[in-house]
């Protein structure tokens, strides 16, 4: 009887000790490290076209190749929808993401279509750009799309990007 009692007491004591230890471990974790901040952000910028192809042209440049494409006379860039839509037109469009810029500009096609202009894209020198497929140019970045402009200084020359997307029409 005494032996049984002492065994029960020993088990109870052991469980109590275990509980106190676990409790202390949970309450006094001062030596533990602060967990890091978690940043959730948009992760890349994609330039996509429904036909033709993006072709690397060296030094952070890509050209939009469409062999029978019409002459590009200007650009019309638009973001948002309905009454909140914002449009900018110009001979070139400068898109800002974070503190970097991407420039859309016209360039003469090589022979035999020398009389026509195509669209060239100029990326920042250190941009990590890759082709996901021939029609999708991906720039790896943590920066979000901010605004685009035709280079003018008037308020109507710049739009803030809405909904993380804009459409740039190549005007013929």
């Amino acid at each position: 009887m005494i032996a049984r009692n002492s065994r029960t007491s020993a088990i109870a004591l052991f469980l109590l000790l275990l509980l106190v230890t676990a409790g202390l471990a949970a309450v006094v974790p001062q030596d533990d490290e602060d967990r890091p901040v978690i940043i959730v952000s948009s992760g890349s910028v994609i330039l996509s076209v429904s036909k033709g192809a993006w072709v690397p042209d060296g030094a952070g440049r890509f050209r939009q190749e469409l062999p029978n494409g019409r002459d590009v006379q200007s650009f019309s860039a638009r973001t948002g929808a309905g009454a909140a839509a914002c449009t900018v037109t110009g001979a070139s469009i400068v898109l800002t993401y974070g503190t970097n810029t991407i420039t859309f500009e016209r360039a003469m096609q090589a022979a035999p279509q020398r009389q026509r202009r195509r669209t060239d894209v100029r990326l920042p020198g250190n941009a990590a750009a890759s082709l996901r497929d021939a029609r999708s140019l991906v720039i790896a970045t943590n920066d979000a799309l901010v605004s685009f402009s035709n280079g003018g200084n008037r308020p109507q020359d710049t739009c803030r990007v809405a909904g993380g997307q804009l459409e740039i029409r190549q005007v013929h």
Binding site: D34, I39, S41, S48, S50, N68, G69, R70, G163, Q170
Partner: protein, 162 residues
């Protein structure tokens, strides 16, 4: 008598001009319209600064850090808006990412767990950095009580509260 060859030359030049013009017009009709260029964001990144995420399956990732303090709740800041809670739901497009504290075992500290929607394409190209492939943008972050912030500049900073 001398005028005939000159007329022939003028005629030939005229024919040449008409041919060039008609060819130019025909070529314009046959050319393709250049497509619009769509510029969009292509992914959502969940970055915890070098502390790796462990893949738990079913779209769940846990930040197992043996020496990390127990996570009690979260506090998210975007622009000037702050929302805090035990569970945070980040909405991108029409989908949600859920962040919650998860106990590892009985009596053991809690880790942060992030849960992506079923079918989401997620990878960890470098330690601590989860990349979700999507064309959708970040919309809002909300807590379990429905308090919410609309995302500003496509960025949310989430503190793990101990």
């Amino acid at each position: 008598m001398m005028r005939q060859p000159r007329t022939a030359v003028v005629f030939a030049l005229l024919v040449l001009l008409v041919t060039i013009l008609s060819s130019a017009c025909r070529s314009r009709d046959g050319d393709d319209d250049r497509p619009p260029i769509i510029v969009s964001t292509g992914s959502v990144i969940v970055d915890s600064k070098d502390v790796a995420w462990t893949d738990e399956g079913s779209g769940r990732y846990r930040q197992k850090e043996s020496k990390g303090k127990s996570v009690k709740s979260f506090s998210a800041t975007t622009g000037a808006c702050v929302v805090a809670g035990e569970v945070l739901v980040v909405t991108y497009g029409t989908s949600d990412i859920t962040l919650s504290p998860k106990r590892r075992w009985w009596f053991v500290k809690k880790d942060a767990q992030v849960e992506f929607p079923a079918g989401a394409v997620v990878n960890q190209p470098e330690s601590g950095r989860l990349v979700l492939t999507t064309a959708d943008t970040l919309v809002r972050v909300a807590n379990e009580n429905g308090v919410r912030c609309d995302v500003v500049d496509q960025r949310i900073e989430i503190r793990q509260v101990h």
